[in-house]
């Protein structure tokens, strides 16, 4: 039998913001049954992205027309 256990994130009712006008912490896609957390972007990932962008700009300037 295929059962769906409760979703991992049970802190808030789906599709309901914690505060009026705020963002719901999880969203339930009906009728697919998929729950999605609002979530966040880890700081380390932001730093990786920033580092790559800076490197890329430097690289393009440095190697625009030569190896």
């Amino acid at each position: 039998m295929i059962k769906d256990p409760p979703p991992h994130d049970r802190t808030a009712a789906p599709n309901q913001p914690a505060e009026p006008g705020g963002e719901p912490s999880t969203y339930l896609y009906e009728p697919a049954g998929i729950r999605e957390r609002s979530g966040y972007i880890p700081t380390w990932l932001k730093l990786v992205a920033l580092g790559l962008i800076v490197w890329g700009i430097y690289y393009m300037i440095r190697h625009w027309s030569s190896y």
């Binding site: 009728p31 049954g33 979530g39």
Partner: protein, 959 residues
Amino acid sequence: MTDQTHETDFVDRLLVKAWARWALVWLTVFPFVGILVSIQFHNPEFLGGMPWFTFGRLRPVHTNGVIFGSFTTAFIALLYYFLPRLCGTPLYKVEWGWGLLLMWNAFLALGSLSLLMGYMIGVENAEFEWPFNALRYLVFLGLTIQVLGTIFRRRVARFYVSLWYTLAAAIWTLLNLLIGNILLPYGEMGGVNNAAMHGLYIHYVVGLWLTPAGLATIYYFLPLAAKNALYSHKLSLLGFWTLALFYPLVGTHHYLYSPIPHWTQTVSIVHSMWMIIPVFTVIVNFFGTMLGRWGAVLGGGGADNYAAKFLMIGVVYYLIGSFQGSVESLYRFQQLTHFNDFVIGHAHLTVFGAMILWVVGGLYYVWPRVTGRHLWSDRLASWHLWLTVTGFTTMILGLTAQGFIQGSMLENGADFVDSVKAMQPWWVARTIVGTMMDVALGFMAYNFYRTVREGAPLEAEGSEPRPTQRQPIAMLPGTSWLENPSTVGIVAGMGFFSVAVVLLGLIPWLQPATRVTTVLDAVTDLPVRVEDYSPLERHGRQIYIQDGCWHCHSQYIRPVTGESLRWGPVSQIGESAYDRPHMFSTRRIGPDLSRVGRKYADDWHIAHLWNPSEVVRDSIMPRFPWLFDAGSHEDPPQLTEDGKALVAYLQRLGTSIGDWRAGSMSTRLSGAAALPGTPQAREELLSLGKEVYERRCAGCHGVKGDGKGPSAAFLNPKPRDFTTGLFKFRSTTGKDSLPTDADLYATLTHGLWGTSMPSMQEIPDRQRWAVVHYLKTFSDRWGRDPAGQLIAVPPEPPVTPASIERGNTLFQSNCALCHGAEGKADGPLGQPGLLTDDWGNPIRPAHLSLPAGAQGGVKLGHDGPHLFQTIVAGVGGTPMPPFDGLKEEAVWDLVHYVQSLRAEAHEAELVAAGIKEAERPLARAKIWAAMSAGADARKLVTTAEPRQDTVTGMAAQPH
């Protein structure tokens, strides 16, 4: 809750099941073709001799089949499942699904058949001819209409991430197929611009179809199969939009170091590295989704847990493969890994490891739900999983190692054939583990088959209430304009794509420098015109395409890893101006062919096409007997018109830059490896010589050295019979004198131009010396006859009009009878059938004004000391006698005259190729400077036309 009740509301289960059934078929069939291809690497004779199953035709069946058959069929099945459920409404025009399935299978089956029959366009991953492309396009168009129709009629307010990827992928692919199927094969773009655009196309197939479709799949099924909430909506947004922004700009990294404008390569490198951002982002999202569920999933059975397992294994491979893709685009990394099995490993990691495993995971989730049955066997699913993981991981480790090994070998100057031979054991392993992977897919198909017949019925459970009213499609809290369908479709789907195509495809094409039809002549550095292909050469090019030669041979030489030493000067932009589509290729299973023209005689190509391993024992090139008509009992098979055209095309390649080969190899090679004194060392050297000889020489000269190797029947002039101890080119006096070891070494290293004796410069020095000593064992002359006396070559006097004129006089009285008055091999005795060598084989005198490598031309070039020795010593075993009675000055005069014949012809070739009248003196000076140490560019005049004295600053040194 369960979700199986909803598909009865929105999902056409029969349609999904039908597509999924065919997905199972294609998931098994097209990887199986890959096994056949893999076997041919280590057993080239496998399925040999049959044009339908030659490597060059099977490979595109495998690659296109896996992308469009295995993956796409499964994805469409899954799409028909998740699209209605995410939109809360039945699929738009659901009835089309059946017609599309029919058309899709017709495209796959008939298209694959057409490739096997040789109907092929020379665009990698777009090889199908137009009827099949049209069929495919109609299916994608129908699918896109269904996607758009369903999305814009949806009843679910929020637009889930799977739909972003699906919508964008559909639009990207509709646009990309126009590039691959119309612009590349039929457009005006040629050469480097065609390659640049193809770089975009080929990566859009992967990055803008497979990847977004795969991500749409896992974004949908992972939260459901793992039974957990998707980790982060913000990560979904970041991942999608960075992929949409960066991926369209990575394509040119396929052709780094090529003549494609450098700045486009730089842009592609940077964006390839920036692809780390979306890859890391989605990986974090997927791993985050598994938080708290690892134990349940890994330890659990049943279809959903196996679905989650396959999805997450795919995530791991996606991380590795994508990171590879980014770093592969870096110049230094690409020097080592491009063209070899590292790239094949990367392609398998992303296409099979990620995309195929993701749709496999999706099928495990969907199949019980559309059949109403529990999965028949967890054990079989477990076998599927572990065979896949074991086999595939081994394959990837092997292919990655192969890439580094072969790349390192070539970087360190190894012979190309040796580098291919070193791959053999790895290729055997690949076949074994590849078979495991395909068997595993067969297990899945069988499991699904038994599920339908014997799986326990699936219980219906309580369900979420179905929305009865359309939800307001409005901005919800926590959502942004970045996730509404119009933004996704217009900005990401059409906008970014168009910007990338304009930036990396159209702008380079608009630059006049990329559309030149001139190149710099290799000897004079003057711009010369590139001629379009002749009808015969163009026909040959078509044969080259239809038999898939370009799947193994590249056609551009990079300025790195010694490629210019191995294959010739670095490729220039104008050389490929008439190549539509381009033939740069992305793989080197065989050597680069950019400059194969005039490297071998036509006869060598004929023998090689008939049976490559008889010419080069370690070659893994397939045979091409369908390019031959059967010969008579005595005569060897003869080329068909197709075969002749192919040889004409090959002989044309790389010759646009002029007589570059003339300066590529000296005959004045120093150094000597005397046969070692100790018996053991002597034995070792001769043993090495025997091994090398049998690998590289016996195909023509025979194992016994008697000139009767298996390929000899095709060759004219015939391979030399070493048992007689007679050699053509010697630095020793007297008719048929014994050559020095250095003479044999020079011939071996240089090769004999215009004949089937190729240069052996690529093989290690010690191996060449070993062969020299070994082939001396075939004749007892070395033990019997005295060593020849060395010809003393005096310092070369200056080349002057007077010396050339004196040489002319001598030539007419001593040489013209055979060589003709103008050295064109048309003297009274030089006519066909009149002259024979010492074995009675018909031969012709050398045509002295032909460029290096041209059939019938001089065999060791126009170098002064070499010509001096040849005149004095004669040509052994031929009617060319030694002219050892001439004074030294007279011999030099003759040398200068012979050189002037080539110089004048060379100048005429340049004039015909479009050099300006004012450039002729400069051209003449450079030609002479390259050919003769005695030519002073500032004083030289030729017999053809007095030289201007205005040219200054020219070095009178040879290259």
